[in-house]
Symmetry: D2
Subunit: 165 residues, 4 copies
């Protein structure tokens, strides 16, 4: 169980967002520096996201103080674009009672993969990215992850000092 | 455990459908006379439907022969209409690998409740309606139901003769 | 979905029981003729029995009227005999709040397999045996079974007349 | 999410053990100083232990390196003593494939509560005790706990230095 030392990690690309839900003001990774950030990428019609990814994101938000750990959902639509518009997403967020901030990944003119998803080279949904207090990517997982392990990894990042290396 | 005798049951109102998925030709209750019909009313953004109702409908379709028991999903949208259009439903059916026939309940000009939902006086989604071989409503449930009980009720209707049709 | 016609089924061997729990008087299949009997064979230290078999037996007992369907547990110990004595079973029944009648299968002098288990040629635990109103074995399954299917099979046996052919 | 600072915690009482399983040599908290210790108290016939506590203990053992985190089960029998003897426990450990070290709490001459359970003033089973690298009790929970939270708490203790305060 380790998320490594801080020396050689990639800086997390800034989020490129078309629209926000559940936050009065737009968020940025730069603005969250000093906190651990949990980025949960999903699509509203992805069964694995609905059954395991999003409930896990909700448990993360319920377990850790938001002043220490910021949970951000990002709707990274890369298929069925016409079926998962922001209008549908708004109803989805309401019906599933999702309370943490959720970003709509900005569509790309060059293809079906939206911009933030492309910048992080995500393989699909659900994807989980853990970003340390200094803004580095420390973990990047595609598919279902165990709560025990995710909880431990977040805590180890919390336990690191606030310095940016 | 009983679904009663056949003497005094209401005839099931015919389905009023705007569009069909997963069937080459439109279906009707009249055309299914002689089979037991399981009508599963859902909305694609209803968590209870996604978590329990639709998986149960799929298990019914997998357990009983379609020549004996016809499973029909009906998308009865009564809220967030703009979020649950047929375009979104098509992607939902694809992503959740639903293989049984699914009807889009016909919208009403008079209010948010679509026509078949109104005719059956459904209280919400998920709703389950069991219709006997003669076309009578024998059970009408709102909310989650246990597999054991639903399986038994369908089997008792199967065991009845082909009745007065 | 069928449990066949009544013509050619084996008669269920009578239970050979060393001790009963949860019943004022010993039970026998002969005495239960006219009812459907659900025989659930288990061992108290068998994980599959504890996780799926016994909870299913409890759901059967809760779903069907006991005047129609008799649920009987039978403790068929064929390994770790010294670990699963009637004294331990009594505590197990109490802690797991099992309310249906439970029989202790009679040990055999000839080997580790107890007598009723041998008479039914069970392959292991959990095993489920469905016996019709006339005392014939209509289904015999080893391992986990789906509630939907088990509920339907019991109901089809219920729907058969009370005659013994 | 915090397991506090190290300043004022009670020292964990040493284990008082009648018999060990799954370890070549007896273990002691003194001998594990420097590691985080997860003590999982259970009874083999306690449904909450079988359904949630022991599977969680197994996930802890699978998630963390044993050189960092020692998982120890302790069989704290305080009722049905005659039903949960070491002979029955041995079969239980075998059938449930429990691989981490398991201690039999030493019975007391003064009453039904065994000695280690009494020393820790446990309220029942399952109970979870987290002990830091310096041998202090940092968390003591009775009943089911969420994996996310338990994983995080263990990790925070791991992240603390090895000093014994």
């Amino acid at each position: 169980m380790s998320v490594g030392t801080m020396s050689s990690f990639q800086e997390a690309p800034e989020l490129d967002v078309a629209q926000w839900f559940n936050t009065a003001e737009p968020l940025s990774l730069a603005g969250l520096r000093g906190r651990v950030v949990v980025l949960h990428a999903f699509q509203m019609l992805c069964p694995g996201c609905v059954q395991s990814g999003l409930p896990q994101a909700r448990r993360i938000a319920a377990t850790f103080r938001s002043s220490e750990v910021a949970v951000i959902g990002i709707h990274t639509v890369f298929e069925h674009h016409e079926a998962m518009t922001p209008v549908s997403l708004a109803a989805f967020i309401h019906e599933y009672r999702l309370g943490f901030p959720i970003a709509v990944d900005r569509p790309s003119e060059e293809g079906p993969i939206p911009r933030t998803m492309a910048a992080y080279r995500m393989q699909g949904t659900p994807s989980l990215v853990l970003i340390d207090r200094a803004g580095h990517i420390r973990r990047h997982a595609f598919g279902a992850e165990e709560d025990m392990k995710v909880g431990a990894e977040i805590a180890l990042l919390m336990a690191e000092g606030r310095g940016d290396g």
